[in-house]
Amino acid sequence: MATRLKFENSCEVGVFSKLTNAYCLVAVGGSENFYSTFEAELSDVIPVIKTSIGGTRIVGRLCIGNKNGLLLPHTTTDQELQHLKNSLPDQVRVQRIEEKLSALGNCIACNDHVALTHTDLDKETEEVVADVLGVEVFRQTVAGNILVGSYCAFSNKGGLVHPHTSVEDLDELSTLLQVPLVAGTVNRGSEVIAAGMTVNDWTAFCGSDTTATELSVIENVFKLREAKPSAIVDEMRKSLFDS
């Protein structure tokens, strides 16, 4: 189910939050509205953690993670590192990496099995990514952009990429990632997909400016409508027994 929300009047939800199948990181805002929306949707299932990275609120763009691990840039302070380690479940491995390209969320896009990275990423970082996140790593570009983490967002069920991605590129990426991909926009035509939305296997959060068309595209490609099969079965039963 896709939810529309804002962070302090900004529709760039993917910048201020990081959503995975095992946890959710949220930035600290002036009011608790942003955090409350996530909490209302997710807190029964996964931990929702308020944090900063290196004292900044752009947590979604600085870190990268999936259900196996979380990678943080070298600007993360020791206290933040400890806070994250304490708040996350034990299966999630937390590690800080020394990498020149410190905005890991912009350079790497991943789900639980595959990751796409910036072409100029260090060899060591690639190895750490493969080890900590437990993924297969591919160096790719998306629509000619090297910042793959910003211009595409994908989960285990599907993916959304930059609107100007060619059909051949789309097919190639689709075979690499083994998920269906669609070229689309978010937040009323914004091309920076991953900054405008954040997604996991059963839910997505988009900026308020996202049109109904964009939202329906998102719900279809990430298969969010079928995410709760129990709800569908209940509805069917109600209609059958209604007299």
Binding site: L81, Q82, K85, D90, V94, Q95, R96
Partner: protein
């Protein structure tokens, strides 16, 4: 004026590079930056806090030992230098007026003391 700390005599960088201060020791491993945090454990934290002053003490004693080892071969040299200085430049140290013999007139002073003692 930009000066390379490794060439400026009084900096730690110079001392470490030129082996004046200890560089490699197992006590420095405790202060290294770590990238994989451990979950908070009260016992662990307590033990660490207790260990910090102990590690400090050990580090200081090892640094002193290192310094002493460095200064070890100096006794012979110091003694030779001192001997040479004594032979050649003793005139700088000895005062010619102080080394002259002073004659004291003992007999004149004795009768002076008697009236004092009688009082």
């Amino acid at each position: 004026m930009k000066r390379n700390p490794r060439k400026v005599k009084w900096t730690k960088a110079y001392r470490r590079v030129h082996g004046k201060d200890m560089t490699q020791d197992s006590t420095f491993e405790f202060e290294r930056k770590r990238n994989r945090p451990e979950r908070y454990d009260r016992n662990l934290a307590e033990n660490v806090l207790k260990a910090i002053p102990k590690i400090d003490k050990i580090r200081v004693s090892r640094e002193e030992r290192h310094h002493k080892n460095r200064m070890k071969g100096n006794k012979e040299k110091d003694r030779k230098e001192a001997k040479r200085e004594l032979d050649t430049s003793i005139h700088l140290v000895k005062d010619p007026i102080a080394s002259r013999d002073i004659k004291v007139n003992v007999t004149q002073q004795l009768p002076e003391e008697n009236p004092l003692m009688e009082e």
